[in-house]
């Protein structure tokens, strides 16, 4: 799994490829027709000319040349940390390497084993390998979800747990299962290579190891007849044993995914386990059912029993599509302030992107990252209700009371948008310093609100000059405000993120 896949924080991808649009380069109508001035109508119809027109657009009022935050405010001295936010160094590189080496060793070992002891029942192997390959080829990105090739995974699991086929015993061992499933997964990676994209080697390694583990739990016991002696080869006992194997293999799969992820280990484990409860459980159940049903009706089980999984998957895709649409719509709503001339072009998008990076740096879970992203996109919506635009749209330079008023107005709009209510709460509270006037820390202030506050201030101050010198200057200003306004932990996380972006 690639790091880009891992976080739910990808809403900005549709726009992130393109630089923020300067006002004079607003998009032209998508047509080849040259703008023809309309006869008999007073105004020219050419949008490009009109944009610069004297009364047309309300450009943001010119920003003050040198922007500084108000001086340090009285507050208590000692710095605090965000409660319960683990900060672990990203160690995805070597952890992922271990997984890849393990998978390679397993495949090489299996090759050696099969070349010595032979390949049995090639037709069954072919059918399952084909099923896995087709499932992998139909792999589709599911934003925010882990399992991308549910049919491939279910087919591989079924082959690992396959005992008898249409009443006759099978004899394939662990090595053969590993080879067939790896081959299927590799075939699934071919289109990526053909299109010169980076293939998802992480998922291949993960598939190999987790399937190998499932096969190790089942095949030796089955082939040696131990299951038969314990009465676990037929009937409900057998079904229960197969289900337990699938469950353990799912646990291994989750751990592998967490190892491969770039996120801090604890967070990665939590996120992967949540994903398992969703489509993962459907995949495991389908794998088990195919393995069991193949014992009764033979290979017909493969197409027949993938029907429920396909239905589930179709539901997921619809869900993912509507989620993507919702994100795009919210991004558009966020752009309303720019179009209306209240904020600078690209401000909302930049704040959202940076806030998500900082959130990830601080180890927020996927769910909260999504809320953070929505809040960051819409944090300036309240400005729409203002009669006159603030200079440069920079709320960070305003008085506390005014900031809070804008936050409240915005949250009223946001509450009507149908996003989770926490988003409105974050936007309101982003206007709040993390310490009260008497120096006490505001304990119930959401972490996301602290992040939006810091990142918004950073973008308000630094957006006109992306150079490293200006960046350091702004960070120094923010650090000077850590006594009351800006949470020091967030400011430091922001500094690290900025360092990484430019370095």
């Amino acid at each position: 799994m690639t790091p880009e896949d891992s976080a739910g924080c990808r809403a900005t991808t549709p726009q992130s490829a393109q630089p923020p649009l300067p006002p004079q380069q607003r998009p032209q109508p998508e047509t080849d027709q040259p703008p023809v001035p309309a006869q008999g109508e007073p105004a020219s119809a050419a949008p490009a000319e009109a944009t610069a027109g004297p009364s047309g657009r309300r450009e943001p009022a010119p920003r003050p040349r040198e922007r500084h935050l108000p001086g340090p405010r009285p507050g208590a001295g000692s710095t605090t940390t965000l409660a319960g936010q683990p900060r672990e160094a990203p160690g995805g590189r070597w952890r992922g390497g271990v997984v890849h080496v393990g998978a390679t060793l397993l495949v090489v070992g299996s090759l050696a084993w099969v070349s010595v002891f032979g390949f049995v029942e090639p037709w069954i192997a072919f059918a399952f390998g084909l099923f896995v390959a087709v499932g992998e080829l139909a792999r589709t990105p599911l934003p925010g979800e882990r399992e991308q090739a549910p049919l491939g995974a279910a087919g591989a699991l079924a082959y690992a747990l396959l005992g008898s086929l249409a009443g006759a015993r099978t004899h394939h061992g662990v090595a053969q299962v590993v080879l067939v499933c790896t081959l299927g997964a590799l075939i699934g990676a071919v289109p990526c290579l053909v299109r010169r994209r980076r293939a998802n080697w992480g998922s291949v390694s993960r598939r190999t190891l987790s399937v190998g583990f499932a096969a190790l739990l089942f095949q030796p016991l089955y082939n040696s007849g131990a299951l038969l002696r314990c009465g676990l080869e037929h009937g409900p006992g057998s079904a229960a044993y197969v289900a337990v194997c699938a469950l353990l293999s799912a646990v291994v799969d989750v751990s592998l995914a967490a190892l491969l992820s770039d996120a801090p280990l604890r967070r990665a484990l939590r996120d992967e386990a949540t994903a398992l409860l969703r489509i993962g459980s459907a995949v495991a159940a389908t794998g088990v059912v195919i393995a069991i049903a193949a014992g009764e009706i033979g290979l017909w089980a493969l197409p027949l029993f993938s029907v429920p999984l396909l239905l589930t998957f179709a539901g997921f895709r619809r869900y993912a599509a509507i989620r993507a649409t919702q994100r795009q719509t919210i991004a558009s709503l966020a752009r309303a302030t720019e179009v209306a001339g209240y904020t600078l072009p690209g401000h909302a998008r930049r704040v959202a992107e940076l806030a998500c990076r900082v959130g990830r740096e601080l180890g927020l879970p996927d769910q909260e990252l999504l809320l953070l992203e929505y809040a960051a996109l819409m944090h300036d919506i309240g400005q729409l209700s203002l009669v006159d635009p603030i200079p440069g749209g920079a709320t960070a330079l305003l008085e506390d009371a005014e900031q809070r008023r804008i936050g409240r107005l915005g949250s009223e709009v946001i509450r009507r948008t149908g996003v989770p209510p926490q988003v409105a709460e974050i936007v309101v509270r982003a206007a709040e310093p993390y310490r009260r006037a008497d120096g006490r820390v505001v304990l119930d202030l959401p972490v996301a609100a602290r992040i939006v506050r810091v990142v918004n201030a950073y973008d308000d101050l630094a957006c006109d000059d992306p150079g490293p010198a200006r960046r350091e200057e702004v960070l120094t200003q923010l650090r000077a405000g850590t006594e009351r306004d800006y949470e020091p932990v967030v400011v430091e996380a922001l500094a690290r993120v900025c360092q990484r972006i430019s370095g």
């Binding site: 607003r26 119809a45 009364s55 969703r278 009764e296 869900y319 558009s332 179009v339």
Partner: protein, 459 residues
């Protein structure tokens, strides 16, 4: 589907429901109640009850966040209990299979009159299951199932699933026609055609449950088959919630404009409605109608970029001010360009002030160069502007607006769209904007005086 008897109170509905209930009783008795293995009936009935409860709970969670969406709720409930009933139809004789849905239907919550509603739900599902089971047995399905004759057994299964779908669909359609006096054409389309494909899928799942059940693995593995389906219904509830949230976001976008320009309150919604009327009249595909609906709602979104002072200005606008107002389609297009699903709708938003003779804005397109959506929205927009009150003119009667549209057809508007709107309004009627306090202050002018200098700007 089980809840289809929403208006059972109507007299025709009661008579119809009573007939169905009696029919179900006759079928059960004639099919031989005591024939099936009772343990199987009990387990299947419990499974059905459990699935029904689970789906109901999930849908309630989804609907609570979303505001109930009746149609979605019905199709979600199909998902979980349908395979159980089909498994019953393949595993049991008709008389016993018909008993399986009764427990779930009787214990489910229902609105008053409770007894009648529950009896109706039970009878509807029982008749469907009975018919499916009878067909499956008639086609020699059980023997093929017992001998694992694949793919031969798929034939009776598919037919049984279709029969189940058709019987319960027809019964549900009947209650809607007799009790609600719904239009039979829309009922047929909604109830039957849309449920046929999922119906086949669920039929196969029911068959799988039966296969595993009859094998050596028993009920445990049959339950495993249902696990992906419960996940599926969970996903469906999430989908519903997210979709409702998305609709709310779109309307929040529109509300932002309407805060700025109070005279356009409700205008977006009505333009959207008129656009849909035209699209239906032109027999556009359903996806395009949906896209057009959103384009109609969002067509003036670019007014966010026009200074409030201009939008609310009472007197005539200067040239510069005209120019500023005429930028709104371009702004609107820019705002929604990131929304991928809009597709054609974006062009509709950009070009909804073009004129057929090429004198419109922003690009001065003429004739067929103007995208179809834009031509639709232009007519809908002008129609609603004429029939609702603005600062400079009181709302005009529908007939006067129709005459004006006909006058401008060919020069400003596409005659096809004008004709379609007029036909649709004659057929379905039109509810113009409700008058508000203060409307009397607007001058009571006939249409046409300001044409054409303000013709494109009034929207």
């Amino acid at each position: 589907m089980a809840e289809a008897g929403g208006q059972l109170l109507a007299r025709g509905g009661r008579v119809y429901a009573g007939a169905v209930i009696v029919g179900a009783l006759v079928c059960v008795v004639a099919g031989g109640v005591g024939a099936g293995p009772w343990s199987r009936v009990a387990v299947l009935a419990a499974l059905h009850l459990g699935c029904d409860w689970l789906v109901r709970r999930q849908t309630r969670v989804g609907a609570a966040a979303a505001g109930a969406v009746a149609a979605g709720e019905a199709s979600a409930r199909w998902a979980a209990f349908f395979p159980v009933l089909l498994a019953a139809a393949t595993l049991l004789r008709p008389g016993s299979a018909a008993l399986v849905p009764v427990l779930g239907a009787v214990l489910a919550p229902a609105a008053p009159p409770r007894a009648l509603r529950r009896a109706w739900n039970a009878a509807q599902l029982a008749l469907g299951t009975f018919a499916a089971s009878a067909v499956f047995h008639g086609l020699d399905g059980p023997a093929q199932l017992a001998r694992h004759q694949f793919p031969a057994v798929l034939g009776p299964t598919v037919v049984a699933a279709l029969v189940f779908c058709v019987v319960s669909g027809v019964l549900a359609a009947g209650i809607r026609i007799t009790a609600e006096r719904a239009d039979p054409r829309t009922v047929w389309h909604g109830v039957l055609l849309r449920s046929l494909v999922p119906c086949l899928g669920y039929g196969l799942i029911g068959l799988m449950m039966a296969v595993l059940w009859q094998g050596r693995y028993g009920v445990f593995s049959a339950v495993l088959v249902l696990l992906p389906l419960t996940v599926s219904s969970w996903v469906f509830a999430q989908f519903q919630r997210e979709e409702a949230a998305h609709q709310a976001t779109v309307s929040a976008l529109v509300q932002a404009v309407e805060i700025k320009d109070e005279y356009t309150r409700g205008h977006s919604e009505r333009v959207s409605r008129a656009s849909v009327l035209i699209a239906r009249e032109l027999r556009m595909a359903e996806e395009r109608v949906a896209s057009l609906r959103i384009a109609g709602v969002l067509h003036d979104i670019g007014k966010l970029g026009v200074p409030t002072r201009l939008l609310r200005k009472n007197g005539p606008l200067t040239d510069d001010e005209h120019e500023a107002v005429q930028l709104h389609p371009t702004f609107g297009h820019e705002m929604v360009r990131g929304i991928g699903f809009l597709g054609e709708a974006r062009q509709g938003i950009l070009h909804h002030h073009e004129r057929l003779d090429g004198r419109g804005y922003p690009s001065g397109l003429a004739g067929d160069q103007i995208p179809e959506f834009a031509r639709v929205i232009a007519v809908a927009d002008a129609f609603d502007s004429m029939t609702s009150t603005r600062s400079y003119r009181r709302g005009r009667p529908v007939e006067e607006a129709v005459t004006e549209l006909e006058r401008c057809a060919g020069s400003q508007f596409d005659p096809t769209m004008v004709a379609a709107l007029i036909r649709a309004v004659r057929r379905h009627g039109w509810r113009p904007a409700q008058p508000r306090p203060g409307d009397e202050a607007a001058p009571d002018l006939p249409l046409g005086i300001r044409e054409p200098s303000r013709a494109g700007v009034v929207g």
